[in-house]
């Protein structure tokens, strides 16, 4: 006997994290029923943005204009399609983690969407105007402090989070080995992971640190970032297939993904298609700082 197959199908190493589910990325809304795929978000400097100024008793005052801005969330279709052949279905049925099981595939698609979302956030985060870190130099605890100071100086309200590349996490942890003083890196415990999910590394300087393999690399550097809530926002579009379109529709819980399963008897294929409509944008540059260090 050349080989014996195990009953279990093991899952390959996968970056299984979701920055969306952490709650740090602000959900702006759904474009459903708006007649546009683009949501223009209007921003205004109210709530005490302009303070009173002193004036003499009969002084004619100049007007203080209200600061305004806007940004766009252009919802785009992201999909993943697979094809399950009949022979795969016959031979794969009943195996734990059956890769031909529609519910296993639907769950996989929901996670695939999260991975896509992580990439969108990482791409948006790479456009930070303020940056700390030095090109070609490994990330250190000093860079973490500099990032925190930058947000503090800009009076960015918390909670803060950092989204960095795994290489940056490793370099930060290496640097922390030599640190002394009261600031402690709190490693992610099982309870923390249960709440914040995979990808959460721990807390340091009152910041939640996540790592993400999608972080942009440019010029030999990793373009991670630290931000406050509201720095990056996202919008979705909820897809509902037309009544009578046939097929099976599965909507994985807690995910904006819709999985349709259609059958093509001609080719002997069962085709699950996952679809999601999503947009991610930097809402306010002042609320974030880039952490640019060696790749």
């Amino acid at each position: 006997m050349a080989a014996a197959l195990t009953k279990e199908v093991a899952v390959l190493l996968t970056h299984n994290a979701s920055i969306r589910r952490t709650g740090y990325i602000k959900f702006r809304g759904d474009v459903a029923g708006t007649l546009s795929d683009t949501m223009q978000v209007r921003q205004v400097g109210l709530g005490g943005a302009d303070s009173f100024v002193s004036a003499t008793e009969i002084q004619d005052l100049g007007y203080t204009q209200i600061t305004d801005s806007s940004f766009n969330l252009a919802v785009t279709r992201y999909t993943l399609q697979r094809a399950v052949s009949d022979i795969a279905r016959i031979t794969g049925a009943g195996v734990p983690m059956d890769p031909t099981d529609p519910f296993v595939l639907a769950e996989d698609m929901a996670l695939g969407y999260e991975e896509c979302f992580n990439g969108l956030v990482a791409t948006a985060g790479a456009t930070a105007t303020s940056n700390v870190g030095t090109s070609g130099v490994d990330m250190s605890a000093d860079d973490a402090y500099d990032a925190v100071y930058t947000l503090e100086i800009a009076s960015v309200p918390g909670p803060w989070f950092a989204d960095i590349a795994p290489r940056q996490t490793a370099d930060l942890q290496e640097s922390l080995r030599g640190e002394t003083g009261p600031a402690q890196f709190i490693q992610a415990t099982q309870d923390m992971l249960n709440i914040k999910g995979q990808g959460f590394v721990g807390r340091f300087l009152n910041v939640d640190w996540f790592h993400d393999a999608n972080i942009t690399t440019a010029g030999g550097n990793r373009e991670g970032f630290m931000a406050g809530y509201g720095a990056i926002e996202y919008a979705t579009g909820t897809m509902t297939p037309l009544v009578g379109s046939g097929g099976v529709v599965i909507a994985p819980a807690g995910s904006p993904v819709v999985v349709e399963i259609i059958r093509d008897g001609k080719t002997g294929l069962t085709i699950p298609i996952g679809t999601a409509f999503v947009a991610v944008s930097v809402a306010e540059q002042a609320r974030m700082v880039g952490i640019v260090t060696d790749a």
Binding site: N72, Y78, L120, T123, D142, D146, Y149, T216, A218, G220
Partner: protein
């Protein structure tokens, strides 16, 4: 009648196994623009000592991010992305989007002839689609792993050229001062523990960096230094950036001496 088998022409077989020559990434990376912001500078130790160079940021044309949209034809097929509105918004925020065809000769590779419009983005075929990289980031990969190796000399040449060609103005004094303040704070933080060997080493490194930053700032070492070989337009662009008054009708030699006098005065003031 027998068949004439000699009539079947031989066709050359594909000599390459395409699977082995593609970058092993499950998904491609989108095309991008390089952009700089007037407030984003860093002092880097290059082959010429410390130099102030603009930070290069990447604006990836990824549909769904920062307002980038997909564009389809009348049959609904995706034919590309539209980033015009996003780039306009970024420009409004002060970003300088470097045109894709901008690429000085020293950044180009001369393995192949330069084609019209060839710029700083290079596309490589990958298993999951095109992988777009900057010209100075060379793909290093085998069957399973992929990484990029950065040619720093090319990268620095590109950054210097941005200033030399007038696309990016030298940093404002407050920007230089802010970067130095960050380093000084780092020095102070580490100096309190300099009795420990690793902190003592860090203090030395940061001290050297601050000194390098000061020297580079005082010597106006922002990108390529101007020489007699520089074009008159480059000299004029630099004088304009440094807010030095000049008459465009002046000779290049006179303009150059104005620049040199400014550099010497700055160095003296700093010392």
């Amino acid at each position: 009648m027998s068949k004439d088998y000699s009539a079947i022409a031989a066709a050359p077989a594909d000599q390459q196994s395409s699977g082995q020559t593609l970058i092993p990434l499950a998904k491609g990376t989108p095309n991008f623009h390089i952009m700089c912001h007037p407030t984003a500078w860093e002092c880097v130790e290059t082959d010429r000592g410390y130099e102030w160079l603009p930070r290069l940021k990447v604006f990836q044309e990824r549909a769904g991010v920062n307002g980038v949209k997909e564009v389809s034809n009348s049959r609904g097929e995706v034919i590309g992305v539209d980033s015009a509105m996003s780039r306009t918004r970024l420009t409004d925020q002060g970003w300088i989007i470097v045109p894709r065809d901008f690429c000085p000769d020293e950044v180009m590779d001369f393995d192949s002839p330069r084609l019209p419009g060839q710029g700083y983005v290079v596309a490589y075929k990958g298993r999951g689609g095109w992988v777009h990289l900057a010209r100075w980031d060379k793909p290093v990969y085998d069957e399973k792993s992929f990484e990029t190796k950065t040619n720093r000399a090319q990268l620095w040449a590109f950054q210097r050229a941005l200033i030399a060609k007038g696309l990016v103005k030298p940093p404002a004094e407050r920007v230089v001062e802010r970067e130095m303040r960050i380093k000084r704070r780092r020095l102070e933080r580490n100096a309190t523990k300099s009795h420990l060997p690793n902190f003592a080493h860090r203090v030395q490194v940061v001290k050297a960096e601050i000194e390098g930053m000061q020297i580079a700032a005082s010597a106006q070492r922002f990108g390529e230094p101007l020489t007699a070989a520089s074009l008159k337009s480059e000299v004029m662009a630099r004088l304009q950036a440094l807010e030095i008054a000049f008459d465009p009708s002046e000779s290049k030699k006179d303009l150059l001496s104005k620049y040199e006098a400014h550099v010497a005065a700055s160095a003296k003031a700093a010392s």
